[in-house]
């Protein structure tokens, strides 16, 4: 199969989304639009899987600006993992989105951008060099700003601006890295183990790496550029769930993984001050965000803080600069995606069905929406790292990687991980306890027969992610060994 087939899953949703602006489907015509979009998304996912199966490790060069800077695609191990993960989630969340946005104004525009984001995300995953990655990274920001500001009230406009400022500012830092890595490496191409020339790290390269870590890390909400994520949780749930818990934020982690393992090379960075600084930032973020989540009273903002914390788990794993850490980071990227999807979708179902959005309003809702909250509880347990759920597997790997790093930083990180996991239990499980065991007199939903279980369209994605959460927790071996292969440069 021609390597240019890689363009299909990137362009199809972008064009499909754009076409919605020209097709003039009326807002009320849910059926036609939904079928069209779901078809596009499903076709894209199919195309992604065709790419993963048949066009791995072939370069598709599209355009070259000047020598070195070119737009080029390629599906390698890490990219395949990211693209594969996203491609499984998007069609499911689309279903949820259709139902969630049923009564909203301007949903044509919303859904158009939502589908376009899919293509851009796949573009990030399949980018073969720093220039392409950077281009799609910026596009990802631009295409999601309208989604964040969808409600057009004061809060969401502010959130959109803050989001733009943080991530575009971050990418600005990242641009420095792009230029340096293109000039000093093999044209910024991604090679497993690093493409930089020369054995040691000079001050310039160290600075470039730090700029890349914090710049691209802005999307992964690493301290001090984490502020946008909790603010952006005013967006509709499909955005906060799929984009701000998986696609966009994981793109940030993904870019850092690319930087470490495919551009700079871990051997070059290990033991340098820049590693310590980055590790420190990640370790601090993962405790701090968990503590903030505990203090937060808004349901989705709490989960957003939890995402901030968990993204730093992944960054911590990556910045250990060992294959084990890398593997654990990837594993957590995948598993956290699954868990957070189910948590956010449940939170969204709650907000959608009751119209409430604060934690204290959850009391007693578990008796009205039992299935939703059972899956929420399973997700919460998993995020804490309880065995039988997939969060345990990735956390176990992270802890083992941290211990085997053998440095004080590794051990400190592991301790931070445990503290953060405990806080995580407090902020996720207290919601479940409230939902199922309301204190007498605060059972808000005892007489509210209008509050019903989430609709089937919403419940189906929740159930799929919830079951995946348990299945991968009990039987993780296939996934773990696949990721092990990727982490050692195979696949």
């Amino acid at each position: 199969m021609s390597p240019y087939f890689l363009l299909v899953p990137i362009l199809l949703p972008i064009l499909g989304g754009l076409s919605l602006f020209f097709l003039k489907i009326p807002e009320e015509d849910d059926h036609r639009r939904n079928v069209l979009l779901e078809t596009i998304v499903l076709l894209t996912s199919a195309a992604v899987w065709l790419c993963l199966l048949f066009v791995r490790h072939k370069n598709a060069e599209v355009y070259s600006f000047i020598r070195g800077f070119s737009i080029e695609f390629r599906a390698d191990g890490l990219g395949s993992l990211f693209a594969g993960m996203v491609s499984l989630m998007w069609p499911l969340v689309m279903l949820y989105t259709f139902d969630y946005m049923r009564h909203d104004k301007g949903k044509n525009k919303f859904l158009a951008f939502y589908v376009m984001t899919y293509g851009v995300t796949v573009g990030v995953a399949f980018a073969a060099n720093m220039t392409t990655l950077y281009a799609f990274f910026e596009m990802l920001t631009l295409v999601t700003i309208p989604l964040v500001s969808h409600y057009k009230n004061h809060d969401s406009m502010f959130a959109g601006r803050k989001y733009a400022a943080y991530t575009i500012g971050g990418s600005g830092l990242g641009f420095f890295t792009v230029v340096i890595s293109t000039l000093y490496g093999e044209n910024g191409n991604f090679l497993f183990g690093g493409s930089m020339r020369g054995g040691s790290v000079s001050l310039l390269l160290a600075l470039a790496f730090a700029a890349g870590f914090f710049g691209f890390g802005a999307k992964a909400a690493v301290f001090p550029l984490h502020g946008w994520l909790p603010t952006a949780s005013v967006a509709p749930t499909p955005v906060t769930a799929l984009l701000h818990a998986v696609a966009v934020v994981n793109a940030g982690v993904f870019a850092v993984m690319r930087l470490v393992w495919y551009v700079f090379g871990p051997e070059r960075l290990i033991g340098t001050p820049v590693q310590v600084v980055c590790l420190m930032a990640a370790v601090f973020t993962l405790v701090f965000a968990a503590a903030m989540a505990l203090k937060e009273r808004h349901f989705k903002r709490r989960l957003a803080y939890s995402t901030v914390s968990n993204l730093s788990y992944m960054l911590f794993g990556v910045m250990l600069l060992s294959p084990a850490g890398y593997e654990a980071g990837m594993l957590h990227m995948l598993f956290h995606g699954i868990i957070k999807m189910s948590l956010f979708l449940c939170a969204g179902a709650f907000m959608h069905n009751t119209g409430n959005s604060y934690i204290y309003q959850v009391n007693g809702v578990g008796k009205r929406m039992p299935v939703t909250f059972v899956f929420y509880t399973l997700g919460g347990l998993s995020l804490t790292g309880v065995p039988l759920f997939c969060g345990f597997i990735s956390k176990w790997n992270l802890v083992m990687a941290g211990l085997s790093a053998g440095t004080p930083w590794g051990i400190a990180g592991v301790a931070a991980l445990i503290v953060s996991a405990f806080l995580c239990a407090m902020y996720t499980l207290s919601v479940s306890v409230r939902a199922f065991f309301p204190i007498e007199g605060t059972d808000w939903y005892r007489d509210r027969a209008d509050v019903k279980e989430a609709s089937l369209l919403m419940l189906a994605p929740i159930a799929v992610f919830g079951i995946a959460n348990v299945l991968l927790g009990i039987w993780p071996q296939p996934v773990v060994s696949l990721i092990h292969t990727i982490a050692s440069g195979g696949f």
Binding site: F223, P224, L381, A415, F422, V433
Partner: protein, 670 residues
């Protein structure tokens, strides 16, 4: 296969019972009883067959199960406790039927998980089932959904989570340092490990993690709160079995990983002694029936932990006899305490289901005309107090003997151990005192409210036949196990320590220890309980509320101080100190620079206009002279005026840029 049935069967049956319960509650109750009875039957088969089981390919490292003497005994004890409490619960829940479906589902699932821990052959398997039962038993604590229950539930849940995570950390460290978690290989792996400090650290983590469930000081805080609010059949299980699950983990770590690690032994011993003394004190001052029993559990856990500590210390001092005696004592005391608490909590449950209150003043005198209940409670009390001929006596004597052996063999610590011996005896005395307090209050004294006493006396009914059978039947075990012939056999089965078979329980030496304890207890009862606690004929609450470790330390630290501090740091250093100043500084620098550049350009233009490009004053010409660059642009390139002016500006900027670059090069090179 047998093990698979015992461990995974209940999980399945839990689900089935949930489904049945949706249709027919009575059928569900019978089904649940049948399941526990079947489990009991299976556990007897296990006793004979001693199978083992490995399931590979799932979870991080598969599941492994095995059976040995100790495990088989505990499998039976577990199943027995479940069968008895479930039968009893049928009557207990006859009035309050809310949420029972949920309750039974979790009770049955916990049974499977508990058997899973008790039969596990590696620490990972223990950990997995331990976590399951941690979370499933949470629903017991919060079952009644009163404010007190919810608060206790939170405490329980978070202590369980902390325990789980600390344990997780410990296991990870052990796995990293030793390379295995399987009990069979652990001993060798630890001996040949290159990182003994990490193994020690992991041991401490595991101790704390399992200690959370065992109710060990300083993570005991959930215990006195959770037991009183849980339904009584569940309290019996919480106290009788779930605490033992914690002990099981500590015991296995001590037996296989840190067998002769002196420091670890000391830590276990000291924590055990503190737990023992503190629990006894709290139990003495409590005026709530179930809370007294809960604190008593804590104290007995302290006795067991003391035994664990002595076992390690004796092994470290190469005193095999001491180690064997301590081990037999602690394992026997585990079994005894499980069964005793089964009886006592069921008896307390009888009180609760009839009266719905637990305060001593209110239930006082209720049991005066209920002979079966009275006898059962008395047997339980005698057992736990360590009165000769009842089961607690033998195990406590063995534990005591273990300490005495230590005093003789471990010269380094003989002073400290002598003190511990006295703490042990006094705590034993306290046990007797608070059991005496409960018994006399409920079954002997008259209520100070005479009408109420009359009402109590008129109604001799307290429970139906099935409940009587299980409560009384369980209390008979105290007597059976109180016979040295039975006890030593059982201890031998659990420990494999042969000399225990020749242990003489009723020598003068051993009786002396027991009698000292009992006389201390009698004295304490007469002085403290009768003189201090009973004022104006009613029990005074001397429970030290202000010293509650949870309200004093844990809750504020975790929910307030930590988030506030970290949030403060992040707020200050994240947005206020770093991001905002950076942005502001950026804006200031850029604006100053542009201003500077602008004014320089203006000055330059002015300068040029005054010198090179001075405009010639042409009289009558309305159009000003376009200037040199603009003329060049318009005439040579034929560009329009606006383009030309832009071009001018661009040229100017280019020139300046070149100059700057040249300057830089000169500056850098020379």
């Amino acid at each position: 296969m047998l093990i698979a049935c015992m461990v995974f069967g209940p999980f399945l049956c839990g689900l089935v019972s949930f489904l049945i319960g949706k249709k027919n509650e009575n059928a569900r109750d019978l089904f649940v009883i049948a399941v526990t009875a079947a489990e009991l039957l299976l556990s007897f088969l296990l006793w004979r067959e001693m199978p083992s089981l490995t399931i590979g390919g799932i979870l991080p490292s598969g599941l492994t199960f095995t059976t040995d003497g100790f495990r088989s005994v505990y499998a039976v004890v577990t199943a027995l406790m479940w069968a008895f409490t479930t039968t009893f619960a049928k009557e207990y829940f006859k009035e309050e039927r809310e949420n029972l479906n949920r309750y039974w589902f979790f009770v049955i699932v916990t049974l499977g998980a508990t058997e899973g821990v008790m039969l596990s052959a590696d620490l990972m398997t223990s950990f997995i089932f331990f976590e399951i039962l941690s979370f499933t038993s949470f629903t017991w604590v919060i079952h009644e959904e009163t404010p007190g229950a919810v608060r206790a539930g939170y405490t329980y849940l978070f202590i369980a989570v902390i325990g789980g995570l600390v344990l997780f950390m410990g296991l990870a460290m052990l796995q990293y340092a030793a390379g295995t978690l399987s009990f069979a290989d652990l001993r060798e792996a630890v001996l040949s490990s290159e990182r003994p400090e990490m193994i020690f650290a992991s041991g401490v983590c595991i101790l704390l993690g399992f200690g959370c469930k065992a109710g060990m000081f300083p993570v005991h805080v959930w215990l006195p709160k959770a037991h009183p609010v849980a339904p009584s059949p569940a309290s019996a299980l919480l106290s009788g079995i779930l605490t033992k699950v914690g002990i099981y983990g500590i015991l296995m770590t001590s037996l296989y990983a840190l067998t002769d690690h002196e420091q670890f032994g000391l830590i276990v011993l000291l924590l055990g002694v503190v737990t023992m003394a503190l629990g006894a004190l709290l139990a003495l001052f409590s005026i709530n029936l179930k809370r007294t029993l809960a604190c008593s559990s804590m104290s007995q856990i302290g006795f067991i932990l003391t035994g664990v500590g002595m076992m390690i210390l004796n092994t470290a001092a190469e005193s095999e006899e001491g180690a064997g005696i301590a081990m037999s004592g602690l394992m026997l005391h585990m079994t005894n305490h499980s069964l005793i608490k089964l009886t006592l909590f069921m008896a307390a449950g009888v009180v609760v289901m009839n009266l719905h209150v637990l305060t001593l003043d209110e239930i006082r005198g209720w049991g005066r005309n209920k002979p079966f209940l009275k006898l059962s409670f008395a047997l339980g009390a005698l057992g736990i107090s360590g009165v000769p001929l009842f089961n607690g006596y033998i195990s406590k004597t063995l534990l005591h003997e273990g300490i005495v052996e230590g005093i003789h063999e471990i010269h380094k610590y003989s002073g400290m151990l002598s003190v511990i011996e006295w703490v042990f005896l006094v705590s034993g005395g306290f046990t007797f005192a608070y059991m005496l307090k409960l018994f006399i209050c409920v079954f002997v004294q008259k209520n100070k409210d005479e009408k109420r006493q009359k009402r109590y006396d008129q109604n001799p009914y307290c429970m139906n036949k099935a409940s009587t059978a299980v409560v009384f039947g369980s209390s008979l075990l105290m007597v059976v196990l109180g016979q040295p012939f039975v006890s030593t056999r059982l201890a031998y089965r659990m420990t494999g320590f042969e000399e225990i078979l020749h242990f003489k329980a009723f020598t003068l030496e051993n009786l002396k220890g027991g009698l000292i304890s009992l006389s201390i207890g009698a004295a304490v009862y007469l002085v403290i309980v009768r003189r201090v606690m009973i004022r104006k004929d009613s029990y005074v609450d001397l429970w030290p509320k202000g010293l509650d470790l949870e309200d004093l330390v844990y809750r504020p630290v975790l929910t307030e101080i930590l988030p506030t501090a970290v949030g403060f740091i992040a707020g200050i250093f994240g947005e206020n100190l770093v991001l905002r100043p950076l942005c502001k500084a950026g804006f200031v620098i850029v604006s100053v620079l542009t201003r500077l550049l602008e004014s320089t350009l203006d000055a330059l233009l002015l300068f040029l206009r005054k010198t090179v490009m001075r405009e010639k004053k042409v009289i009558g010409a309305e159009k000003p002279h376009p200037g040199l660059l603009r003329t060049l642009a318009t005439e040579l390139l034929g560009a329009s005026d606006s383009v030309a002016s832009n071009f001018t500006f661009a040229m100017m900027m280019t020139c300046i840029g070149i100059v700057v670059i040249l300057c830089t090069i000169i500056f850098v090179i020379f």
